[in-house]
Symmetry: D2
Subunit: 352 residues, 4 copies
């Protein structure tokens, strides 16, 4: 079968691979729509995960089941499914402890295009189908559904980690697709005032439609100062980091109230350390909690997010600015994610 | 001054009272808009709080400050304020423990028209103004603002106690004004599917506009069975009780999943006990948590809810079906709350 | 093989059964020490679970593995293991949601001697060995270890559900073996003053050694009144119910502070309802949370409790008042649990 | 009256000051026993709080009330009281939000010897006596009681912030007096295995008596590596930082499991930033939560900790290695804290 792969760091393209086979609990899925992610760019062009050879890229897909293992109970060939980017080993001590994302090892709930072939291929393998897949309702378009698999669960997790109280104030740093879903997530946890830090107009427009109330632009000075000035020097109750480099932690802590929370869902790809500013962190005593984590995956998570879409709470389809028809456009879509033109939020490839 | 009072159980009317005076931390407020509450009816006509004589009724008001004590720092005469129904003693052990509603004694955060004169008078007294009042932004209409003081904080508290996870399912039992705000609160905590149990069309319409997805009508059979049937026998993650008598606990527990939560914000006025159904509660082992509590009051709570309104998250003004102009209509408004005509949700009296 | 079974309601005895076989993830275990539980009595003599025929009794055991399935990774024949009473299906939506006790169905994490043969047999079957078993350190005696499997995880769960804050006050109702472990659990969550409600001297002695500070005896009057009198009318922060019939809920709620928690780990075997007292529950508004749940099982739980014993935090061996040598004494031990002589807390049978 | 003061940075000594007077809610207290704290050393000799002139030092005291304001209800002259280091303004928005430590401003719950005269004087002033003082039971010795005011509440807070589950593993970094109380606190939250990082024998002995199971010595190599080696490379569930400079955050994060918590109660006095190690923090995705905060103060906290001592849960008197009789020895005790001889944990001065 054909696989759109990272051949080595810096080189991507279509290669021929064996069609995967299903273990007794697994499924083989044919993608219907896929989306490249910034982390595909990190992986393929910057070696973010280290050296990989001939590994199929991609971890955002909705598809159709073509084969299931003998012990799969709830799914059958022909079913249309949402496939989470995170497909953990549910039989692990870490899942017993509430952290399936780190099943067996830190971050190892993330398998696709990390230490296993991804979803940009004619077929891909899903471990533990009953525990990791969710049925796609007819009424949700493919382009919208593929946003659930990673962007929505990640952005919403940013809001979940942020301990948002009803009516409290939140700042979301970065309004790429994850940041936008973090805005929507903050809205869905009951945030009152929502600051967003960003400058691209199309993203600002979507952010506002998701509930952003104040826009902070780097070009107008120190972002933490701007938030402090807008809040009588008090700062916000919660900050969600959804972009930028490690230095952003300084701004995030500075703009947070004592007793507040800094939540991170950004992948920090470079730098030895992430700096907590000592004075603004109250010399260790300010009760400014710092959290960060890989998005939840698995079936229940997908089912709950599908309900968010199905019942019209939030429309993640707004993220999709570019739609390509035909798997042949995979490279074009991926490179678009690399170039990030001004009008891009997320591209989707409809497979056939 | 004139006070609209409960003269004794069963008798209400205007009486003459001394104008209250402010202690050093207190404020005297002139009401601008008030709303009668079902609990005023319980208190005045059913003796819900026991015998009371010549007590001013009412605990839902927005007003204008006319006097402040010498130590009040953040408010001055002329300020327009939202006055919470619950005005606790913040200097109490219970507030230190996180339960200001029960400052000094169970439920004693509730003072107005309970063990102190209420707000249906030319002037009323507010203890600890800096800790209990919040400024009313110009852009919020009086009729909307008065809904914040009790209905919104109560309904939202139902949602807060219900441990709602993003995308989870919720059932709200009772869609009077508190139940409607519970629906809005569930929406703001990220509920997916929201069942409402009720039958009045105007309430159903508002419930849907706040996010209800399924309507359950008592007339169509056992309400718990209906919810179970609609959820493949699984039940919902959370139930919020916002109406009905004590027997409702049986239905609430029955329609809740193991691991789910039953949250109560209904005032149970009658009966010796509230029955938990043994089998459906897993013989004590089902992890179906039962919670219930008086709404939060005080300044911070009001400020956060004001932001919910100000930033357009939820419009509690939708509850207001009847507006009366002139304090002279106070009795008419109260009796309307007693009669509960089909088109009523909440009446508001604009004082002048 | 020989199995000590419930033949029908009211009749127990040794019968011949086929030796169980292991699925690919399972283990077959030979018991080294077992203990009968009050619920075995309910099941066998009172029909607590309904009709059962020729079902092996028992769910408290430590043993030696004699066979493992082909996919079991961490265990092998000859390993000595602690076997939790609760052996859930970790691959279930409920486990994903944090409630493995209710995997697939309410209470269905409890399999042994419920809807599957129990542990009072020459051999017994354990589903998902890697996820449900834990290695038994040499230094822990068999009699002590068998107390971990149910008594300790149940009693400690009572303390976990009780939201105990450091230095807070707790009342434990019932000081049978579960109640005693609840006392130890409350101590290990940092309780200050610990009331126990009970009257048997040997239990009182053990309770004191686990941290009880005040003993309340039913014979001296209403137990809630006694606790209120001892706390200036305030009540305690948390109550753990570990015994008694459904009426106990009235006392439990009455002796709890507003904002406090009532935690139940008692199996309520009779009655249609469990009565919450309306007035003492603040008419639904007192923030007196009511929780209750089946004990956690599985490997991680067992490993953590083993560490509690291994590092000398608590010695559950104190519960063991009667030790029988030889499986032939199984019936004697079971009947002892039925008779409950004054000097009994828990009997253990050393199998060979 | 005489006050032992910081005259300027680097100079301490007895000076004459006016006796303080009580506002209507306040108390004037005569110290019975006091203890110097490492932060007194930072303040006085290193300018940790910036320039201060003629400010009475000290924030750890038990004393006798000599005067109360007109509105104080629960205390009277002659009462012996425990005085928390942290005496917040309970009438503040931050206290309403659950963070009294930061009432009105970050860290401003800490008043004594920070921006107000401390307790090393013949008399000192306590704001809001009813909300901040607690009665000292006769049976607790003065030397023990003074350990409650700061060391115990701080060390225990480290354990509270660490999200300890029953039987989980904990590492405490630093076993000075705060670290030792963190060990006791971890024990009281139910920790299983407790690593301590330290090297002084007297501290190690007390740590073991409080529940430490494994001692890690800096001299034997990288401390994180040692903890990882001792845990099969898994790390611990929780880390409590109770000493060392900012670089310690690297070790703390490294030795923590994904899903674990790093809790800080150390005052970081130097450095621009506190470095989170990027890789070990999972590039922002490891769910290794970082928390830190000033200890809780106020009356309820003191009462609960007093109960911990009164009921024999933990004996903080073990920290007291040096007792001086007579206020004249104040400087000697303070300088001892500066010199830190090998046999010192905490000195106490009995005032008369």
């Amino acid at each position: 079968m054909k696989s759109f792969s990272m051949i080595e760091i810096g080189q991507v393209g279509w290669i021929e691979k064996d069609k995967p086979t299903a273990g007794i609990l697994d499924a083989i899925v044919r993608p219907l729509a896929v989306s490249p992610c910034t982390s595909d760019i990190h992986t393929a062009f910057e070696g973010g995960l280290g050296d990989r050879h001939n590994m199929t890229l991609g971890h955002e897909a909705v598809g159709e089941i073509v084969e299931v293992g003998s012990e799969v109970k709830d799914f059958k060939p022909g079913d249309r499914v949402v496939v989470p980017a995170i497909t953990p080993d549910w039989r692990s001590i870490e899942a017993q402890d509430g952290y399936h994302q780190h099943s067996n090892k830190m971050l190892s709930g993330w398998k696709f295009s990390n230490f296993k072939d991804g979803v940009f291929a004619e077929y891909f393998h899903v471990n533990d189908a009953d525990m990791n897949l969710a049925k796609l309702p007819e009424e949700i378009p493919l382009t919208t559904a593929v946003m659930i698999t990673d962007m929505m669960t990640t952005g919403f997790h940013g809001a979940e980690l942020a301990n948002i109280k009803i009516g409290a104030s939140v700042a979301v740093i970065g309004i790429g697709p994850v940041g936008l879903m973090a805005v929507a997530g903050a809205f869905l946890r009951g945030a009152g005032r929502i600051f967003v830090v960003g400058s691209r107009q199309n993203c600002i427009d979507v952010a506002k439609s998701f509930g952003a109330t104040d826009v902070i632009n780097y070009k107008n000075g120190d972002i933490a100062e701007q938030v402090l000035n807008a809040t009588n020097g008090k700062g916000v109750d919660s900050v969600i980091i959804a972009g930028a480099g490690t230095e952003i932690m300084k701004s995030a802590v500075k703009m947070t109230k004592p007793g507040g929370t800094i939540s991170n869902v950004n992948y920090f790809g470079e730098g030895e350390i992430i700096p907590i500013p000592r004075i603004e962190w109250g010399c260790g005593m300010a009760h400014k909690q710092i959290r960060g984590g890989l998005c939840p995956g698995g079936r229940l998570r997908m089912e709950r997010l599908i309900n968010i879409v199905k019942y019209g709470r939030v429309n993640p389809g707004k993220l999709v600015t570019h739609v390509f028809n035909g798997f042949g456009n995979m490279e074009k879509a991926l490179l678009l994610m690399r170039e990030k033109p001004a009008d891009l939020i997320k591209p989707v490839v409809i497979v056939d």
